[in-house]
């Protein structure tokens, strides 16, 4: 096979003149050719904006090009710390993360363990559990708004079918509205963690379980003493990714409640978005997004520092 490639590669040599260009010059051109387009795009659309955004967060930014923006130092950041809606949004964001991350991990782990050693229908189950992951946030948010509507399927289930409680007007109170948003977050995310856990479970050699069984361990012991410890690196990876995702909750809030009633279900990004594109207060909005980015960055680094053993993970 390899030989075949080599022969094929022979035919690829370039026109005669190129043979006189020195190998080191060749390499220089090649580096430029390969690196330039990607890095140029990255510098223009990522590095420049991140620096520019930081600058904006120190200004009372004027969206009118004829009026100057005024440098106000840390005033935007100080304003955030005194803004009760910011603290409410931060509380909601942290709450969302604190509930959906363990929710997703626990559900996904249960499904993965159940699926791990069955033979019939594995691909079917994996496909169905993964469906919400590939569906756009816009669609599932609208869908959950419909499911939890006053006369929707969920109220029908709770009231008429199971006789548990009278119909709940989910979206008129902040607590129940946030519950729907969190349920959506868990429901949509289970499949992602499940696929990763499942792949990790398959790397655990069967002999370990067999040896444990000879020693008299039951399924419960096997799970806590073998499965869970060996899943640890995977668990850290999933945790880090889900925490980042949790802090980034936005589309579901935007489409399901719009932050209402009365800002009660606002999260950081929905509040940031509102300040930027409804109130056109770019300076304040920029400072909010930098506060969130800093928070995420610090928490991610802390998690990596304290949870991962070196060489366990790539990023």
């Amino acid at each position: 096979m390899k030989r075949g490639w080599k022969v094929a590669a022979r035919g690829l040599s370039s026109p005669f003149v190129f043979k006189f260009i020195s190998p080191s010059a060749k390499k220089k051109w090649a580096v430029f050719f390969f690196v330039f387009p990607g890095i140029a795009l990255f510098l223009l659309f990522w590095v420049y904006p991140i620096v520019k955004g930081f600058q904006i967060s120190f200004y009372k930014w004027s969206i009118n090009p004829n009026l100057p923006s005024i440098f106000i130092g840390l005033a935007n950041y100080q304003r955030a710390l005194r803004d009760p809606v910011f603290w409410l949004a931060l509380r909601n964001t942290v709450l969302y993360m604190a509930i959906t991350v363990p929710g997703q991990i626990i559900c996904a782990l249960i499904v993965a363990v159940l699926l791990d050693r069955i033979k019939l229908g594995r691909v079917f189950f994996r496909t169905v559990y993964y469906l919400p992951v590939i569906t756009s946030w816009v669609i599932v948010s609208v869908l959950f708004r419909y499911l939890f509507a006053e006369k929707g399927l969920i109220n029908y289930l709770l009231t008429d079918l199971l006789h548990l409680m009278p119909p709940i007007p989910w979206f008129t109170k902040p607590g129940t509205a946030l519950t729907v948003i969190m349920l959506l977050g868990i429901w949509k995310g289970i499949g992602w963690s499940m696929v990763i856990f499942l792949a990790a479970l398959q790397t655990i050699p069967n002999e370990l379980y067999e040896a444990a069984r000879i020693d008299g361990a039951n399924a419960w012991h096997e799970f806590w003493r073998i499965t869970l410890p060996l899943l640890r690196p995977t668990m850290v990876f999933v945790l880090v990714m889900l925490v980042i995702g949790g802090f980034n909750v936005f589309i579901s809030v935007q489409l399901i409640t719009g932050g209402g009633p009365l800002n009660q279900t606002e999260v950081i990004l929905s509040y940031m978005y509102k300040n930027a594109f409804s109130f056109l207060d770019f300076g304040y909005a920029a400072s909010l997004s930098y506060l969130l980015a800093t928070l995420i960055f610090v928490i991610t680094l802390l998690q990596l520092k304290f949870l991962r053993k070196p060489t366990e993970m790539y990023y």
Partner: protein
């Protein structure tokens, strides 16, 4: 517990999960197949009495979702091809060459993975305005390529590093160029990795909502997620139409996923087990 009982219990639990996962989709489908009158019938019905495709027809033609579908397709396909090519080139440079600033760029790309995209929303919006990229599909395409650049570069770099070098060296000895190596040897050998990267990029572009809603005001330039969200905000009661439009948007995703499942699994686990 006997093994048989345990297996049976496993299946019961798994099917319970399937009901929870799939019912919303079934409900969405059945609502879209009902005429406009029945969408909030109570008690709700999962199987419509007189199924009709009228919602799909209206969404596609009268409500312009045919056009939005085309926009989404143009953006997603162009951005995916461009992203695969540019990330592959960058990844190849990182895998094979030593150059000035290599370490530095590598770390910047790493940091880019950790910073939420929405931090850049405002400055990117201002930049797009300056460059005349608002209300243009190119504005979406270029931003999507950039957003996917770091992750795709990491995944591809990992793959390229495993490719045998001797083959490439033999081309160089024959006086060939690195471009020849890259396009005629490296890319063809990397089809599985490129497929994985492309699928995830395509899905990202197809579903992307936040940047699209900020960058596009013109109705005729909307992509599907923006169009669905706008339609939903404007016509809250026309659930049949909303879900017909949603299913029009969801179908290509579903087909891609079912046809190319193995690449999905590969891509997901590539990040986790490096």
């Amino acid at each position: 517990m006997k093994p048989m009982v345990w297996t049976a219990l496993k299946y019961v639990l798994l099917f319970l999960g399937v009901v929870i996962m799939a019912t919303p989709f079934v409900y969405m489908l059945s609502t879209s197949l009902k005429g406009p009158v029945y969408t909030f019938e109570y008690p709700p019905r999962l199987i419509p009495k007189e199924p009709t495709l009228s919602n799909f027809v209206e969404a596609w033609s009268t409500q312009n979702f045919g056009l939005y579908f085309r926009n989404s397709l143009i953006v997603a396909i162009t951005a995916t091809l461009l992203s695969a090519l540019l990330s592959a080139m960058l990844a190849y440079a990182f895998a094979r060459f030593d150059f000035k600033g290599k370490e530095f760029f590598f770390y910047v790309l790493l940091v880019a993975l950790m910073i939420p995209g929405m931090t850049l929303l405002i400055p990117q919006f201002l930049l797009a305005k300056t460059l005349g990229l608002r209300n243009s599909l190119w504005g979406l395409i270029l931003m999507y390529v950039t957003n996917n650049l770091s992750l795709n570069t990491f995944l591809l770099r990992g793959f390229f590093e495993q490719l045998p070098r001797d083959l490439e060296e033999s081309v160089l000895i024959d006086g060939g160029w690195y471009f020849t190596i890259f396009f005629r040897i490296v890319l063809p050998l990397s089809k599985p990795a490129l497929a994985t990267v492309s699928i995830f990029t395509f899905l990202f572009c197809w579903d992307e909502y936040i940047w699209a809603t900020v960058a596009i005001d013109e109705v005729s330039k909307r992509t599907l997620p923006v169009a669905i969200a706008t339609f939903y905000t404007a016509h809250r009661t026309q659930w049949g139409l909303i879900f017909a439009a949603s299913l029009i948007a969801f179908t290509p995703v579903l087909i891609t996923y079912i046809a190319l499942q193995k690449y999905f699994i590969k891509g997901l686990t590539a990040g986790a087990f490096k």
